[in-house]
């Protein structure tokens, strides 16, 4: 079935060869080709049906410039309606440009998660791991080979897409940008799918749902940003505005370049992480050393959007901080999960930290020279709490000067100083909440239960989501409360919502901060106690038992 040329091309990567050979079976190819042609047929049929006839009075596809698409019928010399074929083809191009990347992304992500979860479940991945192939080779083979069937299905639709672009008079640069962006998005989301699978995620449907939501959200933002909401006459490519005062969205090349750089940076770190996890499934997904750089990349990328012309003429500065806080909450939830080591790793670290010498586990040289602090910041196996605290410090360091620069802002009667106080309080509160969540996660992942993963995800997830939901259900609007009700909000992950909107009394903020600090101290003390116990030698445990 496979052409000889393809066979030769796959000689360099055995994994790619295996995937192609396993997937490109006659039945699959016929089914894929059939489905792709059927989908194209349906699209063509739909566009054929919306073509106006000689009896139609108004149509989008008559010649004319009606902004709402109700152009009047114009007849040619022979009495046939004059159709705006360019628009008709252009619309078809739009539909295909939406559908093709979506099909590639969703099917690919679904298949990758499904395939890797299956390999992990059966135990076959271990054999591949033991072979002399590099993890890069195997993972490239998986990333290119597993989604080969949807790729072929999409490739079959490329001629129609191209024809629609030519007939629709779409500039070549725009057509090309769709393909380039699809490639970039596939690289990023496919690697993210492998990351999710190595994270222990076996639900491929969940991956497909997430990718669908992301895709739909992107189009919502894209369309929203190009409506008349913002006072700009320029078209925003990809819905991107300014970034560090540079107009990205005004030029197609800049917008595509910006998106590609972001995809590239994201893919790079995900790639590092999946390679690391493939080589040793007992390691955390992200090393402490890398986590600092990854968080810095993310924060700088996000922070850039804050710097734009006339930032606070139409909105409060705290709105930007609020949006960034939501993204940070999601970001650090993922980082906590990716950085926190499990029970066995911690036991080994606590018990043998001082005995392992420059050796196989690469715990560092001359262990006795190392301080505990150094271990907690850099070591692969140590508890993650200090590393997460350092990660949390990155947005604090970045945002604080920016918050202090609000002094001159005056929005709807609220002074800059008030905004500054609200901003600092909300930043501090979110940081404290995330630290408590990190300490709790570490404690939960130290449990003896084999299902500690699920316990940790459910408990910490519930801690983030349930209280705000409950409070939101109690009253219809998050911001307008009396101080006594609002205090409950300050203990949730979304404390920044009421804080940024309305502020709070200093005593309330201090009280909440101290409560968070108390919880954090309690959790870290408990963890320290458990690690000390775990670090005791068996001999000590035995003699202690005898004494008792």
């Amino acid at each position: 079935m496979i052409p000889n040329l393809l066979l030769q091309a796959t000689e360099w990567n055995p994994q790619l060869f295996r995937e192609i050979k396993g997937r490109l079976k006659q039945r699959n190819l016929i089914l894929t080709g059939g489905l792709s042609l059927l989908a194209q047929g349906i699209i063509l049929l739909y566009f054929w049906m919306v073509l106006p006839s000689s009896e139609t009075k108004y149509s989008r596809y008559f010649q004319g410039n009606d902004p709402y698409g109700y152009n009047q019928q114009i007849l040619d010399a022979l009495g046939n309606p004059v159709i705006n074929w360019q628009l008709w083809w252009s619309d078809m191009f739009q539909v295909l440009s939406w559908l093709l990347p979506f099909a590639m992304l969703m099917a690919g992500v679904y298949m990758l998660i499904d395939d890797l979860a299956k390999e992990e479940r059966r135990g076959t991945l271990n054999f591949i791991r033991l072979s002399p192939q590099t993890s890069q080779n195997i993972l490239v083979g998986k990333l290119l080979g597993v989604p080969i069937v949807p790729t072929i299905a999409v490739a079959l639709a490329v001629p129609l897409h191209g024809l629609a672009a030519i007939q629709g008079g779409i500039p070549a640069s725009e057509v090309l940008s769709i393909y380039v962006l699809t490639a970039g998005a596939c690289a990023f989301f496919y690697t993210a799918a492998v990351f999710y699978a190595f994270f222990g995620g076996a639900h491929s449907w969940l991956g497909a749902i997430i990718i669908t939501l992301c895709y739909l959200m992107f189009f919502q933002v894209y369309q929203f940003s190009n409506r008349t909401y913002y006072p700009t006459d320029d078209y925003r490519y990809l819905g991107i505005g300014q970034w560090f005062y540079v107009w990205i969205g005004h030029s197609l090349a800049m917008a595509v370049g910006f998106a590609l750089v972001n995809f590239a940076v994201g893919t790079f770190w995900l790639w590092k992480s999946i390679n690391r996890r493939f080589r040793n499934p007992n390691q955390t997904l992200v090393s402490k050393k890398h986590s600092y750089l990854i968080t810095l990349c993310f924060e700088v990328m996000m922070f850039g959007f804050v710097f734009r012309d006339n930032s606070y003429s139409y909105s409060r500065p705290t709105d930007d901080l609020g949006i960034m806080s939501i993204f940070n909450l999601m970001w650090f939830s993922i980082m906590i999960a990716a950085l926190t080591p499990h029970r066995q790793t911690l036991l080994d670290w606590a018990r043998y930290r001082r005995e392992t010498q420059d050796g196989q586990n690469r715990w560092g040289k001359q262990v006795w020279n190392r301080s505990l602090g150094k271990d907690l910041i850099w070591d692969e196996k140590s508890p993650a709490i200090l590393a997460i605290a350092i990660n949390l410090l990155i947005p604090v360091v970045l945002f604080t000067p920016w918050i202090l620069s609000w002094a001159g802002v005056n929005y709807a009667g609220t002074t800059g100083t008030t905004f500054i106080l609200r901003g600092l309080a909300s930043l501090g509160m979110l940081t404290m909440f995330l630290l408590v969540a990190a300490a709790l996660t570490q404690l939960l992942l130290f449990m003896k239960s084999k299902r500690r993963n699920i316990f940790a995800a459910v408990i910490v997830g519930a801690l983030i989501i349930v209280p705000p939901l409950f409070l939101a259900m109690l009253s219809s609007y998050a911001y307008s409360y009396s101080e006594s009700v609002k205090i409950f909000w300050y203990f949730t992950a979304f404390s920044f919502l009421p804080l940024l909107a309305e502020g709070a009394a200093l005593t309330t903020v201090c009280f909440t901060f101290l409560m968070h600090l108390g919880a954090l101290t309690m959790l870290t003390n408990r963890m320290t106690y458990l690690l000390r116990k775990a670090g005791e030698s068996e001999f000590k445990a035995l003699t202690a038992g005898n004494r008792a």
Binding site: P14, R129, N280, D348, A541
Partner: protein, 316 residues
């Protein structure tokens, strides 16, 4: 001059939670040996083998394969090529054919054509699956799957073969076939480390054995020295005449350390400490004494008896 060590470990330790599965093991297996690992369930055999295969990371200790340090990373692809590992559950890809499966692993281990096809034919012939080369793996019997897994394990001609319970669940014929294959591999110069509960198989295959218990390697010796040290020689005799006459005649021999009558038969089992010449002398003396012997069979205690005699009582 001592032979080169194919496998050597120093202070190899693996701890799961608070339980030490493998405790400070210094294992030495010489090149070309077939080393049998025996011990009750939970003694740490599988964990030890998994660490040797880099499938598990040691908590402490070092592993050397043919004198080279084995690490669980990408720093030593050449060393990985020297190891073949067959776990006890041997997972396979049911959607592939036998040939495609082997082809996949031959490529993973960087075998190039024409050597690749030639090697695949060789191993299929060795494991007697040539006639099944185009069959889907899902349609194979358990024994065939086991043999295919072994074929996958040896496709790249490893120098060290690690086999974890390779005959468990196989019928007697499949076990015999498997044993024969291992013998061929040993003759080809591979060093084999094999764990099994079927001690009769190990007795036939192994040159050395190690006994594991509660994570410790409590015994590690060549099979010959183990037999010399722990296996008593026995002679089973049967007579047509009076058993008492035979017994009194046997008591005259200084090498007879004890005897027991096998219940329900005119047979006596003698524990004998002499050499082969001494046993020939005993036979001659019995014939001179006019004992009508119908059987004179010198035997040795088998590995199973020795294992039980070692008194390792860890519950399975």
């Amino acid at each position: 001059m001592p032979k080169e060590l194919a496998i050597s470990t120093r202070g190899l330790t693996k701890q799961f939670d608070r339980q030490i599965a493998v405790h400070d093991i210094d294992l030495h297996v010489e090149a070309g040996e077939v080393y049998g690992l025996i011990g009750p369930n939970g003694a740490g055999k599988t964990t030890l083998i998994r660490m040797l295969a880099t499938s598990e990371e040691p908590t402490l200790g070092e592993i050397y394969i043919n004198g080279e340090r084995l690490l669980r990373d990408q720093s030593n692809p050449s060393l990985k090529r020297q190891i073949g590992y067959l776990p006890d559950d041997y997972p396979l890809y049911d959607d592939l054919t036998v040939w495609d499966y082997l082809d996949y692993f031959a490529r993973l281990y960087q075998l190039r054509e024409p050597r690749r096809s030639q090697r695949m034919r060789e191993v299929l012939e060795l494991v007697q699956l040539s006639h099944k080369r185009h069959s889907q793996i899902a349609t194979l019997s358990r024994g065939m799957k086991q043999r295919l897994s072994l074929a996958r394990t040896i496709i790249h001609e490893p120098l060290v073969l690690l086999l974890d319970e390779p005959v468990s669940g196989l019928d007697p014929i499949a076990r015999v076939q498997f044993r024969e294959i291992i013998k061929v591999l040993q003759e080809a110069g591979m060093t084999v480390l094999i764990s099994s509960h079927v001690l009769s198989d190990l007795e036939e295959l192994c040159t050395s054995v190690g006994v594991m218990e509660l994570g410790y390697l409590v015994e590690s010796a060549s099979l010959d020295s183990l037999f010399r040290r722990l296996s008593r020689q026995q002679i089973v005799l049967s007579t047509l005449g009076d058993l008492e006459a035979l017994k009194s005649e046997l008591k005259n021999c200084p090498h007879v350390e004890g005897m027991e009558v096998l219940t329900g038969t005119p047979k006596v089992r003698v524990h004998f400490s002499g050499t082969s010449e001494d046993s020939a002398e005993l036979l001659r003396s019995l014939i001179y004494a006019g004992i009508p012997l119908t059987e004179f069979q010198p035997t040795q205690e088998n590995l199973e008896t020795i294992f039980l005699k070692l008194g390792h009582q860890q519950a399975s």
